[in-house]
Point group: C2
Chain length 210, copies 2
């Protein structure tokens, strides 16, 4: 089971590491971290670097593709990642995204005609790719699965683990990462957060989106 995670300058680290932490625990998982050029890749806001071991041009097949998001997702898509995703998608059992990784799937044509999700601040863009926004946290459509913002990648990972290896394996992984979430506030979605919180975040996101 070859699981490929493409990263790029300005990706969001948890988008990638959440599903990685789940999927790397699948029996027989082989994880490949890739980028347009191999080497250390800066996540937003620029401090943390994860290492991409292989250049995307050297990755020509993949069982599970997990595309993380980040403020620079569209820039990365234009720089060549969307073209690579379009090609690799033909080889996958599962093509997935977390957060605005959906932009890259969309630019690759993968979301055309499908329901999908992305970070709450970016849902309007889904229509540009021929997709229809769904309010679910994880949206599965055929072999394409999209997750909402950042931390939703953990939920995506567990759903995929269940679909790939069965409920017993997924439950064991959930216990392994002690995923019994207890957020101190109930402010994790636009529907639940206070309007002032939403406005505050929209301004921050508009300022740093690339």
């Amino acid at each position: 089971m070859r699981i490929v995670i493409p990263i790029y300058e300005g990706f969001t680290a948890l988008d990638a590491v959440g599903p990685y932490e789940v999927l790397s625990r699948l029996p027989g998982a082989e994880i490949v971290w890739t980028a347009l050029e191999a080497g250390p890749i800066h996540s937003e806001p620029g401090v943390l670097k994860l290492v991409a071991d292989v250049a995307t041009r050297d990755v020509d097949r993949c069982d599970v593709l997990v595309v993380p998001g980040g403020p620079s997702s569209r820039r990365a898509g234009k720089a060549g990642l969307a073209d690579w995703v379009r090609a690799i998608h033909l080889t996958t059992q599962w093509t997935t995204s977390v957060c605005t990784g959906a932009d890259i799937l969309g630019m690759a044509g993968v979301l055309d005609g499908l329901s999908a999700t992305t970070h709450w601040s970016a849902t309007a863009r889904l229509a540009d790719y021929g997709a229809t926004y769904s309010e679910e946290r994880v949206v599965v459509q055929g072999k394409v699965a999209t997750a909402a913002g950042v931390s939703a990648g953990i939920d995506l990972g567990l759903q995929l683990a269940s679909l790939i290896a069965g409920d017993d394996v997924a439950k064991a992984i959930q216990l392994g990462i002690e995923y019994d979430p207890q957020p101190p506030f109930d402010s994790g979605s636009v529907a639940k957060a206070e309007p002032a919180t939403v406005d505050r975040l929209r301004a921050v996101i508009a300022a740093r989106s690339g």
Copy 2:
């Protein structure tokens, strides 16, 4: 606000990246990734590498210390990390751990006489450090906070964000990372998981613990 995250060969990536993703969004946050020797550091099970920019010997003060866990936490503690934590703890506003990062705090003497938590599979070791196990997901004792396994670091991060910058900031960060968790199963703690799942995991963990 200088937030220091020490990593080591065999740490668990999500232990570190969960709280990082929260705390890096605090206004004025400066994050420092450190290790006994600077450079790329392999997380378990050996594929994903995060870059430590600075050697611990060059880090002599810190406002918030976040020590991640991993199967090799005790080995890392013995190799020098516990001595460094003992010294840096004197400079912190908050000294924290995720998962078996608690072993390293314990070896440094930080947990002596306190209530604390760690990964569910490692709770018995807390007594070795003079600590008393608490069933809470995040345990705050004075300036020391410990979190349960792996994904609990996100909850720790949000509690710290609230204590450091107030509820409004913490709520905005929660919305930013869209942390509205919806695990597909209710198998995230020993109390909730099926006994067979717990037995299965105990065997896996015993096999790889170092």
